[in-house]
Structure formats: C-alpha cells, structure tokens
C-alpha cells in the first residue's frame, strides 16, 4: 500500500509524516512522529492506554487510522506538561501516588484532561465512570480518583 502524507497539528505544532492507509494513529504517533509517550496496551480499544485528545475529545489512537487524523489537532501526554512544569493533573498524580509502573498513565491523563475541560467539577462517581474506560493494573484506581478530584479543585481555584 502506498504511503500517504498526513498533516496535522500535534501538541500545538504543525507535523507531517508518511502513513500507509492501514497504519494506526497510535503507531503513527509513536514510530513516525517519535512521540512514544502514547502507549499501546491492547490494540482493541479496551484498555485506553493509547488515548490521545483529538480535536478536544479523548480518542483511542489504536482504533483510528493515521489518515483519519488528517487536519486534526491532537494532544498527547507530551503536550500536557514537562517535568519542570507539570500540569495540575500531572502534579496531583505525583502527589497522590496515582501511578506505579506508569504504562497506563498517559492514556488516563489525556482522558481526564479532556474530562476536566468539559466538566470542571465532576463528582467522584462521574470520575470513576469516565475512568472505567481505562485499565490500570497497579494502583487499584483509588489514588487516581483522588488525584483527579484534587486537580479539578486546584484548576477551579486558579481560575476563580
């Protein structure tokens, strides 16, 4: 299959790369654009590890082809913050020990970043409901829920 050029914006920058029509967006981000922070956990849309934000919505990059992302605006975990300047959500994950092996973390951060943008004051049950689309095998989820609620509060306070 002939590769096509895919142009899109990733983490605020214009990017382009080559993609066969069947190339998954996850593989395109990881291996063509070298953004390896997005992880692939199941390749069938259940675990959520590969979640990225596409035009404001949390999407599974293993269930999208790269060519479908033409012209979109994508945020990956690399676009959320830096080690020196963590986002409020990343910082809350650190403080609450909401990650252990870190493999599922990128997908959870992107999912929850999208959630807090839409719903700045979610209830614990709402956080759990949305989080239930991501699998974490290490933490038991409890510190993740705590971290998301804590971050939500801090983001609201900063805006107030």
């Amino acid at each position: 299959m002939t590769p096509r050029t895919v142009k899109l914006r990733v983490n605020g920058e214009a990017r382009e790369g080559q993609a066969e029509p069947r190339l998954l967006l996850a593989d395109f981000l990881r291996h063509e654009l070298h953004l390896t922070g997005t992880h692939v956990g199941c390749e069938h849309g259940v675990c959520g590890a590969c979640t990225v934000i596409v035009d404001g919505r949390a999407m599974r990059s293993c269930l999208m082809f790269a060519v479908q992302a033409e012209g979109t605006e994508i945020t990956t975990v690399e676009g959320l913050g830096t080690p020196e300047n963590l986002s409020p959500l990343q910082d809350a994950f650190h403080r609450h020990h909401a990650l252990q092996c870190g493999f599922c973390t990128a997908g959870i951060l992107t999912t929850m970043t999208a959630l807090l943008k839409e719903e700045p004051d979610p209830t614990p049950d709402r956080v759990r409901e949305v989080l239930s689309g991501n699998l974490c095998r290490c933490t038991g989820y409890i510190p993740i829920v705590d971290a998301v609620l804590d971050a939500a509060e801090k983001i609201r306070a900063a805006k107030a």
Binding site: C42, T76, P83, H97, L99, C101, G102, P124, R137
Partner: protein, 774 residues
C-alpha cells in the same frame, strides 16, 4: 494517605512518604519502555502460534510468506533443531517436573493454543503479521486434555515418551494426621476450585536483540525480574560466555510475577538477530499475551478439617490437584509447592498432610502470579474454617482467634511441607494483633451483627480471612556505590530489577540514611547486567529485603574505603576520623571533608561493592475483611467495603507500601470476581481479549482501606524489612468467598469456586431453593 508537603527535609528518609523519583518522566511521556527502544536497521518479528490445543505437526510451508516483499526470514523447528535447548527450571525442582520442559519452538507436536510454531522476521511489524497468514501448517489433531480426570485416565498423552500426564506427585506431612482425625469431635470435607487467572501487566512482553558481530556480543532489551539468571540461560542457549551477553532493563510496565521469566521469545529474537546480523524487535500483542504469557492459580483441592468441639483445629488434610499446562516452565512448580505449604496458613495446626497431584494439560504453561499458591490455599482453608465455625456454633472471628499462632510461639516451625526445602518457619510476628486491628478497623462487631440482613433484596455478608506469606530471601543480591566526581553525589547500582514499584525512590532512601547524605543526590540504576558483574533480581517480595540490605552493607564498605583517602586528604590518621552526616570529621571537630571534595581530591573512581545473602524467609501476615451485599434476585454482588491489615516488618516508604496494598487488593478482587482464563472441552482458549478476560475497572471496587503495620521486624536482615506487596492480593479470594457465603447463609449455600460471578451466585440460590422445595 496524604504525602507530606514538598520541601520536606527529614533527618532520616527511611519511613518517610517520599514522592517518587520515577514520576516526572512517567507523567510527561518521558519513560522508556521496551517498545520505545529502536536500533538502527532494526527488523520486526511476529510469531506464528498454534491454533490447536493438541496435534501432530505434519508439515510447515513458509514459501508464500518468504515471497512476500519485506519478509526477511522465517524460522521453524528445523532451523533451530541443531542448537535447541529446553527452557530450564529456575525454582521448585519437584521430582519429575524436569521431564516436561518446553523448547522454544514446537517440533513434532503442538501442545497448547498459543505455542510458538514459527518466527517471521520482516522490515515492519505489519508485514511480519501479514506473513503469518501466508504460512500453512498441517496439523493432525489429537484429543485434548483439559482437566485432572482427562490427565489421569489418559486417552491422550501430551509427552508420549514419559507415558503419563502426571508431572509429579508427592505427599508431605507434619504431625500425625491420621491420629488427629481419629480423635476429633468434628470433621468436614469439601471440594474447592481456584480458577486459572494471571498477572496481565498493562505493558505486554517485549524483546529487542542486537548482535555485535565484531565484538561477538549480544545485547537484549526488555529484560526484567531476574535478568542475571536469564542472561546465563540465554548465553548457554547461544553457546556464548555470560560476559558476551547483556540484558538491559528499561522501564517496565508491570510484572506481578509473570513478566521476566525466561520465555521462548527470549531465545528466538536474539537467535534471529544473531543469524541475520541485524537488530530484531518483537512486541507481544494483547491476544498473544493472554495466550502465551504464563498463566497461574488453577488449583483444585479436597480439604478436610478436624476440630475439637471448641473449635480448636487438630488437623488439616488436603488433596491438591494442580494444572501446570502443557509444559513445566521456569517456576511452575512454585504454585503446587506453595499451595501445599500454606494450607495451614497462620494457624497453630499440629497435624497437616497434603497429597499433591501435579498434572499436565493442553493449556498455556503455568508460573507464578502475585501470592502464588497462597491465594489458592487461603481460599480453601478460610472457606472451610468458616463452614466449621458455623457447624460448631462458633463466631468466625472467635474460631480464628483461638487458633492463630501466638507471638510467644515465634519463631514457629512449620515443618517440612516442601519436598525441596528444609524445614520452614514463621520468623516473627503477632498474628493476633494484626487480626484484632482488622476487626477494629472494619468495626467487625457491627458488621457481624448484620450478617444475612435483607435490605431491599440485597443480602449483607461479611467475611474474614487470615494469611501469612513467607518470602524475601533467595540467592544473594549485589550493589555498587560510586561517588560521582562532578558533584559528589552517589550512583547506586543494584541487581534488583524494578517493575514499576518505585525502586528508584526506595533504594535512594535507604542509601541516603546509610550514608547520612541528601536523598536528592542519589541516582539509582537497576536490573541491567551491564551495571554489575553479578546480581539476581526481584521476585517473592525480595527486592527491599535483599537489595536494600545489600545497599546497607555496601554503604558501610564505601565508608571504610573512603576513610584512608580522607585521612590522607586531611592529614590525620584513620583512627582520628569519624563519618558523620555525609562527611569525615576529626574527632576534635577541627577539620572535615565531604564526598564532593574527596572525589575531587582522588584520582581514581571512589566506589564500593557489596552484597547481601539470606536463606531465612520473612513472614508477612495479616487479615482481610470483606463486606458485600448480594442481590438475591439477580446474583449481582456489590463490594461495600474492604479492609486489610498487614505487618510488613519495616516500612521504607509508606506511600509506596500503601499503593502496593491497595493495588494488590484490587488484583486479588479481580481473581475473586472477574478474571478467568477459560478453555472449552477441546482445549480451545476462550479469553483472548480484554472483552473476554475481565479485569477490575474504576467503578468496581471504590472502597478499600489498607493499614500496614511495623509490628515485628525481620531478624534475617539489617533493615528488619519483610516482604510487602503480596499481602493485599493473597487473601482476597478467601475473604470474598466467606462474605458471599455469609450473605447466602439463609439458603445454606456455600461458595466453593472462584470467581464468584453473578450467574454462579444466582445458581447457588436457585439450587438451594430447589433443594428446600421452594
């Protein structure tokens, strides 16, 4: 638990909830996991796996695959036959098991769905997977063995040469079981089943291999758990010296016992890289993972208890039936051996016997998963104790209190219940104190008063389960400390591997205290064979006990090593110097020199090597309490609250220990309620996706309360640490089995089998009603 605020500057770091060093890179996409490793000119591999449970391989035709553009090579048995060696047993060498090893590719037979048949190497993973579909394999199907009945009355043999599907069978005993049962007031015999389930880390397995032909050196990325013994295995298989092979541990996305054992791919990928002279990467996909990463549990038990009428347990006799799958791999024997050893658990039971039948089936080979053998036996024993308590009219808490081993009985000998080990013991502990604390934390008396209460069709039930786990020992662990020239900080190299627990933080805490220096200046390098000449790895909750103690010993050596250098630099004799808060000072206090100045003043690198050895295991122990409500109309179960109290000896980082406990509970609850590596009667695998193999999600178990205690330090190691990390998992099946049975008490229904699913509970209720003529 709320961590202490940033900027914390404790006098000691051990015991503090220090936030993890690892987090910043994991949170920003900066981790390097196996699939992030890329080498120049790298090829990609995919593996053709058997879709048959049992059959004769009549022929393999890869010509079409080889003709596909981009395919570089296809390897099958014929290509490795002249050098093929079986995967060796690493632990638990029970008599007979070594007859059934796995080779890295199937030869004349396939014995489970998922067994590797051929390896395709291509320019991309996509092409390699395309090529898999172009290989035709002619397999003549044979009848599949899927249970003990089939294995023991064989219509079909997995390994014809040995004439049996029973891999090993043995009896162990302490005391006089026969006499105990003869004199007992009460006996009960029940059959229990713990289903096949396993660790399923979020990162699948991976191997990237590169052969340096000029140096005749093999480098393999993706190693973890036990890189040093795996290096020796791979070197032997490739006909190389150990020093010609390095295993590199990058960031690891979870292990839980199953990841990092030696698998067929750990040979196949380096073999291909060496043969082709190009780096080769293989990343397991999720279906492959569920099919071929080691399964675990899968133990059935006929358990009989003998008691006095006051509930004193006189004896236990267990017949264990353990399905090891098609081959005996590195640690398969641990599951039956530890299931048998932990049948009596934390109780004072003088007379214990186990008959263990270890059989083969046409299923994926078994290995260890968090609390191996223990999870199963805790379920069997704790269920039967509850049944006995009910029969004898004794409260479930009271019967446990009467039988738990007392602190005054420590060290408590547990006899020789493992054929390949000497007599065992529980080193220290106050089992009753942890038990009482769990009753208090959970407000047991209030919960117990609600047993069976019907609240709008939801029946309340509460279950108790007590456990003890021994671990934290084994081959020696090694450490090296190097003083960095540029800033006087410490580079800490450790043979222990890290699978996501937070070792870069806890080893730095231990080192900071041992040297009296700031935590921030210590960088931890772990796992890879390039860092140290020898080392071992991380399993059986041993990393802190063994690796942490090696760091302590090495720090002492480093101070001794530096002393003459400091004496020379300061112009005082050795004996005039004392090491204090990271500096050598003269006793009078006049002059001093720190690590940075010392490193600057010394031409050679300042470093020290050290190790720690212990064969004496540490006993971690505790109690689980589960409170459930069961919908009597649908069988649906809601976990209302879950409590764990465990003693882990000494807590290096309470934040991390707490995380291990809570995460461990949720894994244990997955096994109790959801997870099942199911097969049909033909040995066809039924759990090959995350839509079929259900793991806990965020909505399942929101209310978990864990307390870790430091009641009894371990005498085996200078830290006093015990294993931490398996206590949350180990008794979850037991506590849930008891809680659900308590909820169903009015029907007289008892849980005998995990997982406890709504359909099973509904059936239990329906059967009980039918039996009662309702």
């Amino acid at each position: 638990m709320q961590p202490k605020p940033e900027g914390l500057d404790p006098k000691t770091f051990i015991g503090q909830p220090i936030l993890r060093n690892e987090d910043a890179r994991f949170l920003t996409g900066g981790g390097t996991y196996s699939d992030d490793v890329t080498r120049p000119g790298m090829l990609h591999a995919a593996i053709l796996r058997s879709s048959h449970a049992h059959g004769l391989v009549r022929g393999i035709d890869a010509s079409e695959a080889l003709a596909l553009p981009g395919v570089v090579a296809v390897y099958a048995w014929a290509d490795i036959a002249d050098i093929a060696q079986p995967i060796p047993i690493r632990l638990a060498p029970l008599v007979g098991l070594d007859r059934f090893p796995q080779y890295c590719l199937a030869s004349d037979k396939v014995r489970f769905v998922g067994e590797p048949i051929a390896l395709v190497v291509a320019e991309s993973r996509y092409i390699a997977e395309d090529a898999l579909n172009l290989i035709s394999v002619d397999i003549e199907e044979l009848p599949a063995i899927v249970d003990f009945a089939g294995a023991s009355a064989p219509k079909s043999l997995l390994h014809d040469a040995h004439g049996t599907n029973i891999a090993s069978a043995y009896e162990v005993q302490r005391g006089d079981v026969k006499a105990a049962f003869a004199e007992a007031d009460y006996r009960r015999r029940e059959t229990f089943v713990c289903q096949r389930h396993t660790g399923v880390p979020m990162e699948t397995r991976a191997v990237i291999a590169e052969w340096d032909v000029a140096a005749q050196h093999m480098t393999v990325w993706g190693a973890t758990k036990v890189p040093f013994p795996n290096r020796a295995t791979l070197a032997k298989m490739l006909g190389l010296e150990d020093k010609s092979v390095d295993l590199i541990e990058v960031d690891v996305g979870g292990g839980f016992g199953i990841r990092g054992e030696f698998y067929p791919e750990d040979f196949l990928i380096p073999f291909a890289a060496k043969k082709l002279g190009r780096p080769v990467k293989w990343i397991e996909d999720r279906r492959e993972h569920l099919l071929s990463a080691q399964h675990s549990r899968d133990v059935s038990c006929i358990l009989e208890i003998a008691c006095k009428s006051d509930g004193t347990i006189l004896g236990l006799y267990a017949e264990l039936f353990v399905d090891l799958g098609a081959y005996v791999r590195t640690v398969g024997g641990v599951v039956p051996a530890k299931a048998a050893q932990f049948v009596p658990g934390p109780y004072r039971i003088a007379n214990v016997g186990c008959s263990v039948q270890i059989f083969l089936s046409n299923k994926t080979p078994v290995g260890t998963y968090r609390a191996p053998g223990r999870y199963e036996s805790n379920f069997f024993r704790e269920r039967l104790i509850d049944m006995a308590a009910h029969d004898l009219g004794i409260d479930p808490a009271e019967i446990r209190r009467r039988n738990l081993v007392l602190g005054s009985e420590m060290p408590y000998g547990i006899g020789k219940l493992v054929p390949y080990e000497p007599e065992g013991e529980y080193d220290t502990g106050d089992f009753v104190a942890a038990f009482e604390r769990a009753l208090q934390d959970s407000d047991w008396n209030a919960l117990n008063a609600r047993q069976g209460e019907d609240e709008d069709g939801w029946l309340h039930g509460t279950g108790l389960a007590c456990f003890v786990e021994t671990g934290g020992a084994g081959p020696k662990e090694t450490a090296r400390l190097v003083v960095r020239k540029e800033d006087g900080g410490i580079n800490l190299f450790i043979g222990s591997s890290a699978l996501g627990q937070g070792h870069e933080t806890v080893f730095a805490q231990i080192c900071a205290d041992a040297l009296g220096i700031p935590f921030k200046g210590i960088r931890v390098f772990h796992g890879s064979t390039t860092y140290l000449d020898e080392g071992y790895g991380t399993y059986a909750s041993r990393a802190i006990v063994m690796g942490g103690s090696a760091v302590l010993n090495t720090a002492e050596t480093l101070i001794e090593t530096m002393k003459p250098l400091a004496a020379e630099a300061l112009g005082f004799p050795n004996e005039a110097l004392v090491w204090k808060a990271g500096r050598f000072e003269t006793e009078s206090g006049g002059s001093s020199i720190g690590l940075a100045e010392l490193a600057a003043a010394t031409a050679q690198e300042i470093r020290a090597d050290g190790s720690f050895s212990s064969t004496r295991r540490t006993a971690s122990y505790g109690t689980h309490v589960a409170h459930v409500a069961v919908d009597r109309r649908t069988g649906k179960i809601r976990l209302i609250d879950y409590y764990v109290v465990e003693d882990v000896g000494r807590i290096i980082n309470p934040l991390i220990v707490h995380g291990q406990a809570v995460g461990g509970v949720v894994q244990g609850l997955g096994g109790a309620f959801l997870e099942n590596l199911a097969y049909d009667e033909n040995g066809q695998f039924l759990a090959g996706s995350f839509a079929d193999y259900l793991m806990p999600t965020a909505t399942d178990f929101p209310s978990i309360h864990c307390t870790s205690l430091e009641l009894s330090r371990a005498p085996s190691n200078p830290l006093g640490a015990k294993g931490a990390g398996e206590g949350g998992t180990t008794a979850a099946g037991a506590a849930i089995g008891n809680a659900v049975s308590a909820a169903l008490r009015k029907y007289g229904a008892e849980v005998h089998e995990l997982p406890v699913t709504p359909s099973k509970v509904w059936s239990l209720i329906a059967q009980a009603k039918a039996a009662a003529g309702q």
